[in-house]
């Protein structure tokens, strides 16, 4: 068969590629990983069943603060697995437990009863996906669930991918559906619901032996309750349609043997928010099995058209800026105009027998003044978050 011939050729190439220290299996796994996916997160998806089983654990430690003090802290242990079944299917899934403590950011809950109040909450979330592989295509079915004491979400997804005969172009399409139940510990009689339908079309193309580009367009149509039950006067529209157009470009530099990942996303929803996200990461292998990855990200958004700046005491109460009479109103600064920068560094080390250990630190800051366009909110406090992540994974 033509396909197996091609694979043999690829294997031959990998066997002679000693500089990277890749084993045959690693390379094939990598070949699978290099191709695109449509899922809750795009991962080892290709028109080839993964050759190995992967199990990984990660622990995330997240802490945020503002000028006026420390805010939320989150500890999140999580696990991931991906396994081939026979040579036609793969199954993958993840589970995470978030344990949150502290106070939510003052500007997010400004002047509401919850501001500064100590919070302790847990979130359990998991997802599972089964993919069936055909000659040059793959079909995946997934479920995902997330549960908190006042919020529950259940989601379903279906996605397909199809490659051209030379495997240089892959088309993807997917649909998703999510059903969310919203409650509130401040108002036990609140039982609201939101239903969201997602769609995706995408294309991934091998441009040259060193260039890979992917472009996806997603739409998300939500109907139901969008307001935040913990914020006074929060009255958001009962529908939201959002578009996101994400393009990712990876280039391999043969000289330093490094990879540059770049991406740009344009986002727009019918609440008046438009946003740009730009990311770049440099993957630099050093020594035996080490990889160093510095990264940078810039994000900017315009404000929702019903967003009004909260005035900290002794400023006027929300009532005086039209909160109670407006059809739609929110003082949640996540709907304001702002810019944000993330700086990150990750170190990974591969050991014998397919063990990998990684460590990552990221610093994130939001500032009203860093927005690219739209009206800013000079009174809103800067927001800073830092997170550390440690992981271990094994393939067998």
């Amino acid at each position: 068969m033509q396909l197996s011939k091609k694979r043999k050729l690829v294997r031959k190439k990998f066997k002679t590629d000693r500089r990277s220290g890749s084993t045959l299996a690693n390379s094939l796994m990598a070949a699978a990983l290099a191709l695109p996916g449509v899922a809750v997160t795009p991962t080892a998806k290709a028109e080839a069943v993964p050759e190995k089983t992967t199990i990984g654990f990660k622990f995330l430690k997240y802490a945020e603060k503002q000028q006026t003090g420390d805010r939320m802290k989150v500890d999140s242990p999580s696990m991931f697995f991906l396994a081939p079944i026979k040579d036609k299917y793969s199954i993958e899934g993840s589970f995470v437990l978030d344990s949150m403590s502290g106070a939510s950011p003052s500007s997010y809950n400004s002047l509401s009863g919850a501001s500064g109040k100590g919070i302790r909450d847990y979130r359990k979330a998991g997802d599972l996906k089964v993919t069936t592989f055909f000659d040059r295509a793959a079909l995946g079915v997934g479920i995902a669930a997330s549960k908190e004491h006042d919020y529950e979400s259940n989601a379903f997804s279906l996605d397909g991918r199809f490659s051209t005969a030379n495997n240089n172009t892959t088309f993807a399409a997917g649909v998703g559906y999510s059903d969310d139940e919203i409650g509130s510990s401040n108002n036990l009689t609140l039982h609201e619901n939101r239903r969201t339908t997602d769609g995706l079309i995408g294309i991934t193309k091998v441009l040259t032996p060193n260039d890979l580009v992917q472009s996806n367009l997603t739409v998300s149509i939500g109907k139901g309750y969008f307001s935040d039950p913990y914020k006074d006067f929060d009255k958001r529209p009962n529908s939201r349609t959002a578009w996101a157009w994400l393009t990712r470009y990876n280039h391999y530099f043969a000289g330093p043997g490094a990879a540059l990942h770049t991406s740009y996303r344009y986002f727009k929803n019918d609440w008046g928010i438009a946003a740009h996200t730009m990311e770049a990461a440099w993957y630099q292998p050093i020594g035996t099995g080490w990889t160093l990855r510095p990264s940078v990200r810039y994000y900017t958004q315009r404000a929702a058209n019903f967003y009004r700046d909260p005035q900290p005491p002794p400023g006027p109460a929300l009532d005086f800026i039209g909160a109670s009479t407006a059809t739609h109103f929110s003082a949640d600064t996540r709907l304001s105009a702002f810019g944000a920068v993330t700086l990150g560094m990750k170190v990974a080390k591969e050991f014998a027998h397919d063990w990998t250990v990684d460590l990552k630190h990221e610093w994130y800051q939001q500032r009203s003044a860093w927005r690219l366009s739209g009206e800013g909110s000079p009174g809103v406090e800067n927001f800073t978050a830092k997170w550390w992540q440690i992981g271990i994974s094994k393939k067998f």
Partner: protein
């Protein structure tokens, strides 16, 4: 609507790219783990969840990810 049409047009142009096709034996670099679109599945999940809870924009990379009470 005009914007959507433009985006679709760009897709069409991208898919019609007529560059020299890359042969299977030229894909050694593309097959390296550091050239994967998603190099670390759990890390991607963490990052997406963090940004989802702090920013208004989301999406672009997949479908069917459930919501949470964080936003």
């Amino acid at each position: 609507m005009i914007r959507s049409s433009l985006i679709l047009l760009c897709f069409a142009l991208l898919s019609a790219c007529s560059m020299q096709p890359v042969n299977p034996w030229q894909k050694g670099n593309l097959a390296k783990p550091i050239m994967a679109i998603d190099t670390d599945s759990l890390e991607t999940r963490f990052d997406q969840h963090t940004y989802f809870s702090k920013e208004s924009a989301s999406g672009g990379s997949g479908v069917g990810g459930g919501g949470c009470g964080c936003n």
